[in-house]
């Protein structure tokens, strides 16, 4: 799961910073990776397709700041599935 999340994040973040190589758990998704609203929407859609869950129908995405928060939200959703 985490590999998938990191891969999608990297792909989206590299649109804004082609030099970006590493995604770290503590990075803030919007402020540090530079994702804009449309990127966030695409992230959630692609992860729903690849992981089969959308945690944000039951957990507010506004509570997710970091990469680690994001992984935790998907972990909870997958466990509940």
């Amino acid at each position: 799961m985490e590999e998938t999340i990191y891969a999608v994040l990297r792909e989206l973040a590299q649109r804004h910073d082609p030099q970006l190589v590493e995604i770290r758990p503590e990075q803030v998704i919007v402020d540090e990776l530079g994702l804009e609203s449309l990127d966030v929407a695409q992230l959630v859609a692609v992860l729903e397709d690849r992981l089969g869950v959308d945690p944000f129908a039951t957990t507010a995405i506004t509570s997710v700041r970091t990469v680690s928060d994001l992984c935790a939200a998907y972990r909870v959703a997958l466990d509940a599935k």
Binding site: L38, V44, T62
Partner: protein, 324 residues
Amino acid sequence: MLIEPVELTLAHVGLGELREVPLLALFASAQAHALVAGTEHTLRDVTDAAGAKLYPGYSWLHLRVPPSRRLGQFQVWDRVEVGVDVKRFGGMVLDSTYVLGAAGELSTMTADWPLDALPSMRAMSMWIVDGAPGDPQPSSPQRGAIAELPSLSNPPDAMKRFRTMRATGSFDREPRPWSTTKPVRYQLHMGRDVARDHNLMFATYVEIMEVATEAVLRGVVWPAIPAALLEHRMLLEREVFFLSHTKGGEQVLVDVRAKLTPCAENFHGDAKDMVSAGILDIVFELYEEGTSSLLAIAHARELFLVPRKRAGLVADLARFLPSS
């Protein structure tokens, strides 16, 4: 998919004919109903999992009006149908198709909607937290808040175009003979243009573009286009990318570049009582003055369609055509 029967009332068209802004409102209202169809909710009740109110904010729209079914043919007390088909990409992005027809004209099969023969629109919108400060904050409706929508497995084409347009900031930079040398200013008044505690509604951007277009045709062009010609314009298409938000109290600055090109006299179709006199191509960039944020970029095409009994106006417009 939803087909909504509507009677065009004074609230839609006044005493006259359907225009672009009320049509956009009709389309958006039909979408609002489609989004909550089968639930006990209205669109105003849609919240995310934290209880924040959400609304579908447009990122892109592309309205097209065939000259053979111009908006002016839809008039007060006409019974019409508004069709809307909404799909989702993930929980946040909506991809919509809209169409306007006469009563009984729309098929219940969306694939059969004649989008090239009727006023129609494609749009992409995103669920946004209402009233959140700063940049638009996307979120997902909480489970059960909205209707079950068919899902797209690939991003809407508009998503890629949105990124490209955001990066370029304009439809084109082509010099055009009718261009603003300084932007047209539009003061946003609370209540008149913007609801308190809300962002400027998408359709109001169109009103501002219309004001800016008239300012160019009546002010930048010299000699100015005769005022009588302005009322004989019909929209062929308008495409808008909404890049940022603004609120009441702000000033919107609009850069406009326009050109007029000739067209066939019967461009509009077979109606012999009208003459197609020229096509106006316009590009717009809208900025918020206080922050210099680029709010929206757009292009529009309009047809000068003049009643044959006012043929003198055709000659008036011909003076402005490049070949004359």
